[in-house]
Structure formats: C-alpha cells, structure tokens
Amino acid sequence: MRAAAAALAALGLAVLLVPPLAQLDQQLVDLRSAGLPPSLAHPLGTDQVGRDVLLRSVYGLRVSFLVGLVAASASMVVGGLVGLAAGSLGGMPDRLLMRLVDGFTSVPHLLLGIFIVALFAPSPVAVVVSVGVTHWTTAARIVRSEVLSLRSRPFVEAAISGGASRSRVVRRHLLPHLAPHLLLAAVLMVPHAVWHETALSFLGLGLPPHLASLGNMINDGQRSLLAGDWWSSLVPGLFILVPTLALGVLAQHWRDRLTPRLRSELSL
C-alpha cells in the first residue's frame, strides 16, 4: 500500500513539476538523436524522431490520465445516476432505463465510440465524450443491481418505515454503500479509457498526433519495435501499468476503510 502511494506520489509530482521545469522541448524533433537507446543524456532513450522518451512519457501520462480520469468520471456520473434512478424508482422507469442500457450494450462499444468521435475534430473532448457515452452502461448496471439488493434489506425498510423520504434513503443509506463499488469501477475504468484513447489515436480519430499521449507514443513506438527500439513503446506502457496498479491497490484499501466492520478488523 505504501509502495503504491509512493509510486503515485512520485508520478504525480513528475506530472506537475517536470513540464514547467524541463530544459528540453518534448516536441523538439532531432533526427541526429533518433532511436538512441537509454543513456545519461536520455535516461529512457529517444523515439524515432529523436524526442526524449522519458520527458514525453511524463507529458503523455498527464494527457492520457487526465483524459482517462475525466472520461471515467463522466461515465460513472451518468451511469451512476441512471442506475440509481432505475433501482430506486423501480417499475416502468426501471424497465425503460434498462432497455436503454441494453440498446447501448448491444452495439460494439468501440465501433460506437469511433462513430461518436468521428463527429468531432481530433481532440481530448472528443475522446472524453466518446468514452463517456459508450461506458456509462457498466456503472448503471453495477449501481442498479446494488440498489435492488439494498432496497430489499431490512435496514432500508426500517428507514422507510421510520418516515425517511426517498431522497434521504438514497443519500443516507444507498449512496454510502454504493460508493466503494463505484470507486472500484471508476478505477478500473481509467486504464480502460486510456486504452480507448490509444485505440482511437491509432485510428487517427483520438488525440492529435503531435500531442504526447501514452496512446500516441505506444503507437509510434510499435513501428520502431522491429528496428530494436524496445524502449520507445515499453516505457509508455510502463507509465500506464504502474499508476494503474497503484490506483488499484489504493482503491482496494479505501474500499476496506469505507466498510466500518473491515476497518475495525484492520485496526486489530
């Protein structure tokens, strides 16, 4: 847990501090330095047009995870509200909303994402809209099933019997129990959103090619793999992997802390 927090803190600091302090221009093309392996001047090598891979990965981490976080948050908020409405209202609204979810999930979501993003010029906003519109159904299903389970629990019935309004039941008894599940779903959604950003960028529909995103970098780097430049795609790949694992560990820890019984057991 401490290692995960330290890794995230280090990456967070790098993302915040490196861009303003960097001496090098991450977009500067220097063909004399193209494809250099890791060295003192370029600790993680250079890509096929001579740009510093470490510096560009830090920039890419910033862009990709910002896009991933916003997209995952948007899909969680939309899906969470739909699931909450369906689960707590029940009856006809539930059936209508769930058929809408079925409709969205019946279409391959990458294809739908490509269709949506093609409506815009390549930009971070287009990727966020594309991922948000195609991924809210996961959160809607998770939240709805959890609300249905909670609604039938005696303690929710006791709150209703005690005169709690619909909004109070949601606020006081449903949302606190939903939060850990939504949190985990959101954390798992972030790397998935980054993957979508990668796929869309690969197709020329995601982020503009000059923008250093981890997706753009992996796609650029995979072209150099056969030439032996393993670092230009491995490094951005690790920049996705490490924060994803760290976020997963921290989310698990937070979920345990949000459950009072588990929290007491952890403190023993």
């Binding site: 629990r153 019935e157 006791a158 005169g163 309004s165 606190p176």
Partner: protein
C-alpha cells in the same frame, strides 16, 4: 384500530397468505402464533405497510392504505413501527447506535439528542455503547437500539416480529417490559408475533394462530 381484511400474498406462484384477516386494537396486545413458514412475518410486513398484498385491505385507524412502502403517506408509515427478528439486518452497519436511534427523528426534521439519550436509557443502553457500531455490540444490545428507534416517533401500533427470539431471557424480559410500558403510557396497540406460546400466553391479551393457508383461528 390496525386491521387487515382478507389479505392474500403470493411470492410468485406460491400463496403465502390466503384471505387472512387480523385486527390489532389500540391499547391491547394481540399475539400471533403459528409454525415456521406459515406467513407470520409476511403478515407483519403487510401490516407495517412494507409489502403490498395481492388482494385484501389494510386500514390504520379507519384510513385505508392505498400505497405501500415509500409511496405510502409518511403519516401512515410512521403510525406503525416494525421490530424485526434479526436486529443485525435491521440496522445500517455504517451508523453508530446513537445515529440508529436518532434516524426517524432526523428524517422528521426533529433531531433531539436529549430525546435520543432518554430513549436509549429507557431501552437499557448505557452511554458507552452509543458511540459503537452494530458489529461492536451484541444482538441484545442491538435489539435494544431497535426498540428505542421504533419508539422514537411514538407510533400508534407496534408490530413485533419475533422481536425476542434470538435473545437471552433477561434481555427478552426487559424489552417486553419496555414495550409494555410504552403501550400503557401511550395506548398503542401491539402485535406480538412469536412461535413461543409461553411468551404469548404471558404477554398477549388475546392470541390468534396462523396455520398454513387455513387462515386465522382464534
């Protein structure tokens, strides 16, 4: 008077209650006995407005119930308090005992720490327990909190669904005494659901038996 008339409840194709009628009179204790699985808890939930019957009517002091659960008018919902057999399932595991007892008062916009403390004391909960969460107290202590919560809005009827089944004899006696004191003070009607005939013989003014699908026998 809390009255269920010709109530039928089905879970899917299975008929659990078939044309059952029952009356709970104000100021009196009605004992409802019957074997396990005969529908006692289902009838208790119908009377507490938490389960819509497939057929039949429920009236609370003459007011016919037309909507159930969250859709039932707040005044009718809080007129009948339901005490569950398993207190551990009947409380939000995230809340402290104080918050559990205070919940109905807070929902009514009448938060009153003094009243919460008085209710807790009446139910036999000491101050050191009030800051604890459900997993940190015993079933008996938790049921005491549930009784305090049920009495917080001074309901006109109390439906005690096997309230004391899982508890030791002294806690059982104390909780029955608390409910009895409330009944005598407020004139509330009590439905005591139990398969413990000895308990009902001592507690209830009259007893009815629910047996399978045959309806009630006085």
């Amino acid at each position: 008077m809390l009255e269920a008339r010709d109530v039928t409840v089905r879970y899917g194709r299975q008929v659990v209650l078939d044309g059952v009628s029952l009356t709970v009179e104000p100021g009196r204790v009605t004992g409802l006995a019957g074997p396990s699985g005969c529908g006692k808890s289902t009838l208790a939930r119908v009377l507490a407005l938490m389960l819509r019957p497939a057929a039949g009517t429920v009236t609370v002091d003459g007011a016919a119930v037309r909507r159930w659960r969250q859709r039932a008018p707040r005044g009718l919902r809080t007129a009948v308090a339901l005490l569950y057999q398993q207190p551990r399932l009947a409380v939000d595991p995230r809340l402290t005992l104080t918050e559990i007892i205070a919940e109905p008062l807070a929902a009514a916009g009448r938060a009153d720490p003094g009243r919460v403390a008085a209710l807790a004391a009446e139910a036999g909960l000491t101050g050191d327990l009030l800051g604890r969460r459900p997993h940190e107290v015993s079933d008996g202590q938790l049921q005491r909190a549930c009784v305090a919560r049920a009495l917080s809005l001074e309901p006109r009827y109390l439906v005690c669904d096997e309230m004391t089944t899982m508890l030791d004899a002294s806690t059982q006696a104390h909780l029955v005494a608390v409910v009895e004191a409330y009944r005598e003070r407020s004139g509330a009607g009590v439905l005591a659901v139990s398969h413990d005939d000895a308990l009902l013989a001592r507690w209830a003014h009259h007893r009815v038996r629910l047996g399978g699908f045959e309806g009630l026998e006085s």
